[in-house]
Amino acid sequence: MSTTLPPAAAADAPLDTYLLNMGPQHPSTHGVLRLKVTLRGERALAVEPVIGYGHRAHEKMAENRTYAQFYPNTSRQDYLGGVIYSVAWAEAVEKLANIEVPERAKIARVILSEFNRLYSHILWIGFFLHDLGATTPLVYSFEDREAILNLLESVTGSRLTYCTARFGGLSQDLDPDFPRRAREVLAKVKARWPEFEDLIDGNPIYQERVKGVGIFTKEQMQSYGVTGPALRAAGVPYDVRRVEPYGVYPRFEFEIPIMDQSDCYGRYMVRVREVRQSVRIIEQALDVLPDGPIITKAGLGSKFRLKPPVGTIYHAVESPRGHYGILLVSEGGTEPWRAKFRTPSYANLAVMVEVMPGNFIADIIAILGSIDIIVPEVDR
């Protein structure tokens, strides 16, 4: 299935259509994203995402820095997946350079990553409702996110752009009090579930706005490479943590929530259920968190003079938005010869060209919000 874009700005464009430039400055494009929307009345005939306003050449930067120097860049690709991206970079380089990671660090990485996923999803619920016109859920979700951020800040030192992972471990050890505080936060998050369900799920206006809106077919998602909750909402249990396990995820019990509708409501429900699974993983991980070093001696020493052997690796993780992959090519130097990042939002945005036409302006915003787009990740 392909869509031909009617050239709205061209001289032979039909007179009853017009071109609306949504963005790069627009309250709901989640950053500097521009949507060229061809409209007839309120209905979109074609939507063309225009990207690159926030392009910072992360891949080129990776080629000009040592492996360790690239850490700060990782969480600046996806500002809501900082821990996961930082850990992904560490794991990719560890794979390339064969660095061992102590047991405690492996488990701690899972705990921090899942807390990251937790707050990303919770915040998404707020922002999605904000896109639909309800302002209050955003503030509520910030409250939960705040608790998680305070917890992460206490062990990593930062709140948004974490570069907490190190080759061979983590930069700081979890303090002895951490499991107790983590459980407190989890209890707080869990106590909020019924409230969210009543206020959001039980709201007839919300149901009207999201059910049957923005249906992605499996074929479209396959051809554009859509991953993450958007794919799982179509009933495809694709989760990198399960299909290409990394870290210590195989040790934990968790489900891959799927829905069949593949609409905005399905994507919402998948995230709501994933929040529960993340909590489940964290609880298991806290139970088995062993004592021991958080980083190996070799890892500490690798900070400045890491020279991985010649080789090419591909490492994928499940970011809150989908399949995040790092391709690293080493020629034996202190800097990667090539680093390629496969970011989920980029592919998830591309499918908009197929999905958006025929929808109302209000639905365009809802669909764009429903894939949890992070624009710096699209542009990199």
């Binding site: 017009y18 609306l20 627009h26 309250p27 709901s28 309120e42 409702l129 904000h130 896109d131 639909l132 016109g133 309800a134 302002t135 209050t136 503030v139 509520y140 409250e143 206020l199 709201n203 206006i205 919300y206 009207e208 706005r209 109302f360 302006i361 209000a362 639905d363 915003i365």
Partner: protein, 333 residues
């Protein structure tokens, strides 16, 4: 009230009673409405704050009460931008026109048993007629801005207000049938003799509140300005005091339509102990508070859902109630 009457008599001795009433009425309304707007904006921020587990404004004045005054001073100091490609005179006139009908409406609402600034035997018809002028100003503003978001907002506003006037009218007609009068003061007096019409006509009362929420373009029916879709909708291109005029109009509309709702359904100025105007204000503010509560609770409806709510649900229900009320009134006599 007595003081006001004395003042009017004294002035009437010099310029005639008609001009004295006009002068006093305009003076009172013109001084009340801006203060009311300042209060309502503050109230909205407080209500939203507490709904969202925050405090809202806190630092300027006691409990942030002077925050809106500070905001107003800021807006006064802003440059009045007129974009180059606008339809200049329409653009400049729209913020003025949007405010005028609400002022006129305020003068028609009876504030106590004796005094109404402009009493008409068909006051209700006048209120409904005048209140539909606002949408013209909103559309003028949207159209003249020469901005696609503004045009979309203006068009949405026209469709929405015209659709929602019908259920409002039908629910108001039910009141007219029961009260057997179009005079607002007589409607209140009929309620004094009987009971508040919200109790005998609960469904029209609810439809009225939904309808005025849509007519004042407030969430969940705020699609003409739909922040997350149309940036700011019809007033995207307005800055400074011109923007403030649209805000003025929105909040004035809320209180005036709230006062009208109080008059029609909640017994208007009627109440024990305190004089009439206080009761009217209290009831109007209760309705306004309810509208704020809705705004900070619900997501926005989509445009087509908004239309189908009006045409497929509210209008049929209001019609059924109207016919039912008519039958009951005829049967009882």
């Amino acid at each position: 009230m007595r003081l006001l009457g004395a003042l009017r008599d004294w002035m009437g001795g010099y310029i005639g009673e008609f001009w004295a009433t006009l002068f006093l009425g305009v003076a009172i309304i013109m001084s009340f409405l801006p203060f009311n707007v300042l209060f309502l904006v503050w109230l909205e921020r407080k209500v939203s704050g507490h709904i969202q587990r925050r405090y809202g404004p806190l630092h300027v004045g006691p409990h942030g009460a002077l925050q809106t005054v500070a905001d107003m001073v800021k807006l006064l100091g802003k440059q009045l931008l007129t974009p180059a490609a606008t339809d200049r005179w329409v653009f400049l006139f729209a913020p003025v026109l949007v405010f005028l009908p609400t002022m006129a409406l305020a003068s028609l609402i009876p504030v106590s048993g004796a005094e109404a600034f402009a009493e008409m035997p068909i006051g209700l018809v006048a209120v409904v007629a005048i209140s539909s002028i606002t949408v013209l100003a909103i559309f003028m503003g949207g159209w003249a801005s020469n901005n696609k978001y503004a045009v979309l907002g203006g068009m949405r506003s026209v469709a929405q207000v015209i659709s929602y006037e019908i259920p409002v009218l039908l629910s108001v007609l039910a009141v007219v049938l029961v009260a057997k009068s179009l005079n607002l003061r007589e409607i209140v007096e009929a309620q004094q003799r009987f009971v508040w019409y919200a109790l005998v006509l609960p469904v029209p009362a609810v439809i009225y509140i939904i309808g005025i929420t849509a007519e004042t373009n407030r969430a969940p029916f705020d699609i003409p300005e739909a922040e997350s879709e149309l940036v700011a909708g019809f007033h995207t291109e307005y800055a400074g005091m011109r923007y403030a005029m649209f805000m003025f109009a929105e909040y004035t509309n809320m209180i005036v339509l709230g006062a009208l709702g109080a008059t029609l359904f909640l017994g208007g100025y009627d109440g024990p102990f305190a004089p009439g105007p206080w009761w009217l204000l209290l009831k109007a503010y209760a309705i306004v508070f309810f509208m704020m509560w809705m705004r900070w609770t619900y997501p926005r409806l989509r445009f087509d859902q908004l239309m189908s709510l009006a045409w497929k649900f509210l209008i049929p229900v209001a019609l059924v109630w109207l016919v039912g009320t008519a039958l009951v009134v005829v049967r009882i006599g």
